[in-house]
């Protein structure tokens, strides 16, 4: 029995005194692709943010690779893609500089980038199809490309667990395809993936297990193709049957039945 990359036991999280996540159990094993579905406000983002230590919780426990979160130090084993619209900040930064921050977890505390850091940045940028954009400003990239930059940044530390908070929301189909290819490779290499999503699109065939949250509780935990219509309703703000059929490859609108 391998140690799960992430184990959440009986977890409750409150935001400003309001219980948002209630007594959730969840595990992601190495090489397992778990997707977290649910309507807006069902607690998906709150749950994953608590899992990576960004939010305190009221009761229960979170373990990363067998260590309680408070004692966990091997942050280079965790890649995180926050929910965000873009990668820009108040000062210009190049694609390579932003992806380079993903290497910090692998560096000594006060070290400057070494050649292996630069190599990792280059490799990951090529992996997401942006190898020729390394020295461009991130603001020159389209929304989907900026999202790919954030994924390259999360991968730069060679993680064993990847947590993605809505990485495909409003992202063009080409970038979704790239993401599907990258995540497929990772899972085959034994990386655990926890994906918060509204729409699965081209990622659907990769998913081993779906967990549906409803009102902060787990409403369903099992294979994707066994999701019933009512679970699917819970999984989506707009009713649509999650099912065997992956999203159509072309013409996937950012709004529509797949949202």
């Amino acid at each position: 029995m391998t140690v799960p990359a992430l184990r959440v036991h009986d977890l409750s999280v409150s935001l400003t005194g309001r219980p948002v996540v209630r007594r959730v159990d969840l595990a992601v094993r190495p090489g397992e692709f778990v997707t977290l579905l649910g309507a807006n406000g069902s607690g998906k983002s709150t749950l994953v943010r608590a899992c990576v230590g960004l939010l305190p919780w009221t009761s229960g426990s979170v373990e990363l690779f067998g260590d309680p979160l408070a004692a966990f130090e091997a942050w280079h084993r965790v890649g995180y893609v926050p929910q965000r619209s873009g990668a820009a900040s108040g000062v210009p930064a190049t694609v390579a500089e932003v992806v380079g921050t993903g290497r910090l977890a692998r560096r000594q505390r006060f070290g400057w980038p070494r050649s292996e850091d630069r190599r990792a940045v280059r490799t990951r940028l090529e992996q997401v199809g942006l190898g020729d954009r390394a020295s461009d400003a991130v603001t020159q990239l389209s929304g989907g490309q900026q999202q790919r930059v954030m994924i390259a940044r999360a991968l730069a530390c060679d993680p064993d667990l990847l947590v993605l908070d809505e990485p495909v929301a409003g992202v063009d189909a080409a970038s979704q395809e790239v993401l599907a290819g990258v995540l497929g490779e990772l899972v085959r290499a034994g990386c655990g993936v926890l994906l918060v999503a509204h729409e699965l699109g081209p990622l659907a065939p990769l998913v081993d297990r779906a967990v549906v949250l409803r009102g902060g509780r787990v409403a369903y935990d099992g294979p994707v193709h066994q999701l019933t219509d009512s679970d699917a309703d819970a999984a989506n703000a707009h009713a649509h049957a999650h099912g065997e059929a992956p999203a159509p490859r072309t013409g996937l609108p950012s709004e529509g039945p797949w949202r």
Binding site: A93, D172, G251
Partner: protein
């Protein structure tokens, strides 16, 4: 050159130029991080608080530079803690500290029986009155700011770029947030003698704003801002000596002139880059393809029409339409 050498004959000018050089280097270095965090006005707020520190120094007979460092640092830490833990009510709390700081300062200066002229020296700078002791403190503190802001640049950049991601990378973001706040407070006090507490934020922010008109990486923005800060500070001191104006405002006006001069360049660059920004491949791909009106021109690289990447092919902008080559005709995109 002859002028510079002549200026260096004066002791007070030597000290003034050295102080200007150091503050011109230190202020934009920490200012870059503040702008990146979208906290460009933090320096202003700390300047207000530092005034209370100056006043306490005048009242107790201690060096105002020292008391200002202590009070400004305490204020900066308070602001950072309020920002982190008080959330959205933070900016109101900031305003309270700002006004408390400046009102307290003016009040205590009055109690200490100091004149408005003394107050002015701190509000708008009095670089030609920098003493040897002042210069040693300025040099020491500038060195600390420079070493930390350059040495910790990978960590500070990550924290200012995306605080949550940095935290999940195991970076102690709260500690680094405090480091930035304390460095900003130290810089404000260091620059107090050069440009004054009310203008200090300009020296932290304006060179950064100028630099980013023409840069696209953090590293060059950081270096260029420091260079521009030095040029503005030193040129300001020299100019103020020549034409007999107040040094602090002269420095700031030169820095602003630099921004005004580069703004058109930046606007042109931004326009040029935006034109070439690729279209998201999905955009407008729904529905049947629409054929362009028949035209005999053959689009190719260098044909004179703007070429823009669009997914796996290139569109050419032609009379306000985007033409995509498709077999023997062009599609409208």
């Amino acid at each position: 050159m002859a002028l510079m050498l002549a200026l260096l004959d004066y002791d007070f000018m030597r000290r003034a130029l050295l102080a200007a050089f150091l503050t011109g280097l230190a202020a934009p270095s920490i200012g870059t991080y503040l702008v990146q965090r979208r906290l460009a006005l933090l320096g202003d707020g700390i300047g207000h608080i530092a005034l209370t520190g100056v006043a306490l120094g005048l009242l107790t007979g201690r060096a105002p530079l020292i008391t200002a460092v202590v009070v400004a640092t305490a204020g900066a830490v308070a602001i950072e803690l309020l920002r982190t833990y008080a959330g959205t009510s933070g900016d109101v709390a900031l305003a309270l500290l700002f006004y408390g700081g400046i009102a307290g300062g003016v009040l205590i200066v009055g109690i200490a029986g100091e004149s408005a002229a003394t107050l002015n020296a701190y509000l708008f700078g009095a670089i030609t009155t920098v003493s040897g002791d002042d210069l040693r403190i300025v040099a020491g503190l500038s060195a600390v700011v420079l070493v930390l802001s350059v040495g910790l640049s990978p960590q500070l950049f990550a924290v200012c770029q995306d605080e949550e991601h940095a935290r999940v990378s195991g970076v102690p973001t709260r500690t680094y947030g405090l480091v930035i706040a304390v460095l900003a407070a130290v810089t404000v006090t260091v620059s107090m003698r050069t440009v004054g507490l009310l203008l200090v934020s300009a020296l932290m922010v304006v060179p950064v704003a100028t630099a980013q008109q023409v840069t696209r990486s953090f590293r060059t923005t950081f270096a260029l801002a420091m260079g521009l800060g030095v040029v503005a500070s030193v040129a300001g001191v020299v100019t103020s000596f020549q034409v007999d104006t107040a040094p602090g405002p002269t420095i700031v006006m030169i820095a602003l002139a630099g921004f005004v001069a580069t703004a058109p360049v930046g606007a042109a660059l931004a326009w040029w880059r935006r034109r070439r920004r690729p279209f998201d491949p999905d955009e407008g791909d729904e529905g049947p393809h629409e054929l362009s009106e028949p035209h005999t021109h053959e689009h190719r690289p260098g044909c004179g029409h703007l070429a823009i990447g669009h997914g796996d092919h290139v569109d050419y902008v032609h009379d306000g339409h985007r033409h995509a080559p498709h077999d023997d005709h062009y599609d409208e995109h």
